[in-house]
Point group: C3
Chain length 395, copies 3
């Protein structure tokens, strides 16, 4: 931790104070915290992701996209193992023509030579135009953003930093793709694209259902204690009006949602409730019957202490499994989400559910690719060019 000591005073500031360090007027300079994902920014990114997705349907559109950022080079510094997020960023870069480079081995040769991590990152910034990083150290990407800001102030080369997962704390781009999936589900914009979004039809059946993420009940189920995706997504959702959140986890301290976060959500007006089974009831009705959006997660065994390993083995996890029977209780339009991978042993979503029309988890992964591409366009300040290309190809 010593090598980050020069950033200590900045690290200790409250989150709200920090955020402006990562903005340049209306635009993100770096993406470090899920809290940077405001409703306005999400809406902007959603529109860009939709454009990219539509352009990619034709070869011409694809080739125009691939030319867009062909002069840029990215470093994917993924010293914490990851397949899904890594490949999703790779694909996102490739869609835009960004050339990718990677460091994945936690013990790179330079670190063996006792190079400081800060020197390594500064070196990357001299070869590449953006650094996308996933590390087990929760503060590393934040410190890199400060380093880049300092270099910029000294009129030296500086590049954007993306936090692609930091320790157990933050995973802002996962929240981004989850939000993109939610925004698409509850939007009128897709009336012509048949399968994926049929919000108008839904509203015929449920005239009280409003568009957008507000005025909804979200049910999070599984590992609330170690799941950074749940924290990041719930933090973003807490910005919207009239949101209710159900957290369903085993009755075991390490798997429970963080007390501090729950308090923060309540302070913002979120209606928060905790349960210990998917069959629980609220106001006399099954919680699944009240749910507008279901977010399942895996019990993250790799974070278990020895004691937790033994305790968890004794736990009955069946109340946290989204079985076909429970699927009949869930609202008919509620998307079934999961950050993936799912656990093929615990089986929190059995494969029988895959053919359920509400199952969104595979689309969700593909959504991640589009919205990450949109994020890259935003960070490289190429939104206008995207709009131009979109206009030309669609004409």
């Amino acid at each position: 931790m010593n090598e980050f000591s020069e950033f200590q005073s900045r690290l200790q500031r409250p989150l709200d104070v920090k955020l402006s360090d990562f903005q340049r007027n209306e635009r993100l300079k770096h993406l470090i915290f899920a809290a940077q994902l405001t409703p306005a920014l999400l809406e902007k990114l959603r529109k860009m992701a939709d454009m990219i997705r539509q352009l990619s349907r034709t070869r011409d559109g694809n080739l125009r996209l691939k030319h867009m950022l062909a002069h840029r080079r990215a470093m994917l510094y993924f010293t914490q193992p990851s397949t899904r997020t890594f490949l999703s960023f790779m694909a996102a870069c490739q869609i835009l023509g960004i050339t990718c480079n990677e460091v994945r081995d936690p013990s790179t040769s330079s670190e063996v030579k006792r190079e400081s991590k800060v020197d390594s990152i500064r070196m990357f910034s001299s070869y590449f135009d953006i650094i996308i990083m996933r590390t087990s150290n929760p503060i590393f990407s934040e410190c890199c953003a400060y380093l880049m800001n300092e270099l910029e102030s000294a009129d030296q080369r500086s590049v954007p930093i993306i936090n692609a997962g930091a320790g157990a704390e933050e995973h802002p781009t996962q929240a981004l793709l989850d939000m993109y999936t939610i925004l698409r589900t509850f939007s009128h914009d897709y009336s012509r694209e048949s399968k994926q979004s049929k919000f108008i039809e839904i509203q015929k059946q449920y005239p009280d259902l409003s568009p957008g993420p507000g005025n909804k009940t979200y049910l999070f189920c599984g590992d609330m204690g170690r799941g950074r995706t749940v924290r990041s997504l719930a933090t973003v959702l807490s910005q919207y009006d009239n949101v209710r959140m159900f957290f369903v986890a085993p009755d075991y301290a390490e798997l429970a949602m963080d007390r501090g976060l729950l308090r923060r959500y309540r302070d913002r007006g979120v209606d928060v409730h905790e349960f210990h089974s998917l069959d629980a009831t609220f106001d006399g009705r099954p919680i699944l019957a009240l749910t507008d959006c279901l977010y399942m997660t895996r019990i993250q065994r790799e974070h278990n202490s020895d004691k937790a390993e033994k305790d968890l083995a004794a736990l009955d996890l069946s109340p946290f499994q989204f079985t076909p029977l429970r699927a009949t209780v869930l609202k008919s339009y509620a998307p079934i989400m999961h950050p993936f991978p799912r656990d093929s042993v615990t089986n929190e979503i059995p494969t029988e559910i895959d053919s359920d029309s509400r199952a969104m988890y595979f689309r969700q992964a593909r959504n991640g690719m589009w919205i990450r591409a949109a994020l890259l366009v935003h960070l490289f300040d190429a939104a206008e060019e995207l709009i131009d290309i979109y206009g030309e190809v669609r004409r």
Copy 2:
């Protein structure tokens, strides 16, 4: 094996019945088995590979090729170690502008998280446009092809699967490149390209020699038991008329050709014979003097059991070495092939042979790159565009 249980009934069908699952009319949907490589398809792919090869001789041709599939992204899922096949596919993709992504570590992070292999592949199919896979599990690529077919039926995203080597059984793209080398050797089409093919000159000396793979004697030497390249190639050759095959291997059960395959070839009318030395005779003449095409292989020690390791150490392998002396016996036009790598200790082809004009093994490797590129063009249904480009550049 449990996770492939849903494919069990399809896996157990006879090969002939399966094949139609991997076709779309005249075109391959997936390449899983060498048996899919019919003479008609091989001829089509040979012509495309020749076009790609010729286009690549000029910078303009190269750049046109590189634009052709620039909107596509490939996943090379190579969890069984491989350098040669991997790099050959990389190069083939790069020639056509396809962006490459790879998973090479057998224990990817998602599998550590107990994700099922089927989920992993489906995830890849949401980011990439084709999956090229080499695995130690012999049925994995076949199951992936079934999964993709199911998704297609359900009107969901589906991509082609290429088997780039599956367990000890199949290596269809190796058979493809071997056949490309054989087709080029025995063809009239290359009369103007001097060095590599001089079939007309050969025919002046040997007027009875007919073009094409039929009416020839093939000698396979080395590890017939564990060499999937020999199986795959012999299976393809068994489709041609009037073929004779000599299999030369040590007198040791694990190194002998599979009895069932030999029976199948005989049923198809192939004239099959087995020997235990390159110096053996047939009808009173040295087998090498009767050979139109020599296919040497390495003893695959990495598959040895402890017992086999000991037994093989005691074997005399000198009768299976293609020495300069034996080279004088081989027909003057017979290509000397080897799937490579060769073993620098056993030395089945000493380096002295490298300067022999019949030595094809390095060209064979380069042929693999061209014919794999042709396969990609075929699977992406871009043959017409290739023909157009070829016409324009050559005009």
Copy 3:
């Protein structure tokens, strides 16, 4: 070493005799030795690197560069661990549109199968258009260059070889980037680019200072014994007129500069002196006050024998640390260089120095990218095209 035995007689020739093997008239065929970097070639490469650098400042220039060698594929064969050099070459290739492939694992699958290294390299040469290699074996790249020359003589496919670091001996492209940094520092060509080069202003203060690397004092400090970067750079500098070199290292045999090299430099007229502290004096003045260019290095602990490990732990390394106090003694224009990584424990350049306007080590890394790109343009004989593009874009 056995597998290189066929190259034995060529390996044993004196360096001067060998050099012509790696040239094609005025142009490099391969880059194996730092001694190939003549002043004339360095000047040519500097100009090309400057053009590439300037073109990269605009998107149009970048895209033109990226098209330049888009029809080429490179193999980065880095079996000796390296992050910095590897990424620098990757970036250099990417700038020019060259597609990159890599082999980094020292035990590739084919070597497990007992393939000879020579076969591996020949295989790479059939898929790729250039091989950039860093190996712990000091003679490997040289042998590969001989192999390629033989293939060329036999009218077969042959590609350029770049030595990107060979054992403890040679690191010619590091010398190349160091020289590029030195040439830029002491040149009149950059009068309009303000920050990086202000040689005219310097000359106002120091009218005796001549342009170019000649007539200067170079101070090398740190690990003179195992630092191949120092050897390679000093060898290149020894070609210029009126050069003085100070070597500052602990008084410990393994860390001292090679006696043979010192003799060779003296024979060429270099004024060579050795010291055991940065505070040493020469002719009554502090050596730092006489230094036109400071080259700091890391003590390379990874090469330590057990005995050296113990001995070095007992050494006082503070006399070899470029502290802020010592920085006040160094000439006001002298660039502070370091091949990086620096050791964050030994701290030979404390981070306080990073903001010193003479600190060149981060720019030096970025210079490496530009000059390596220039080297690639040179080896692919594309200099004229670069000049054309430069002319068109700047018009």
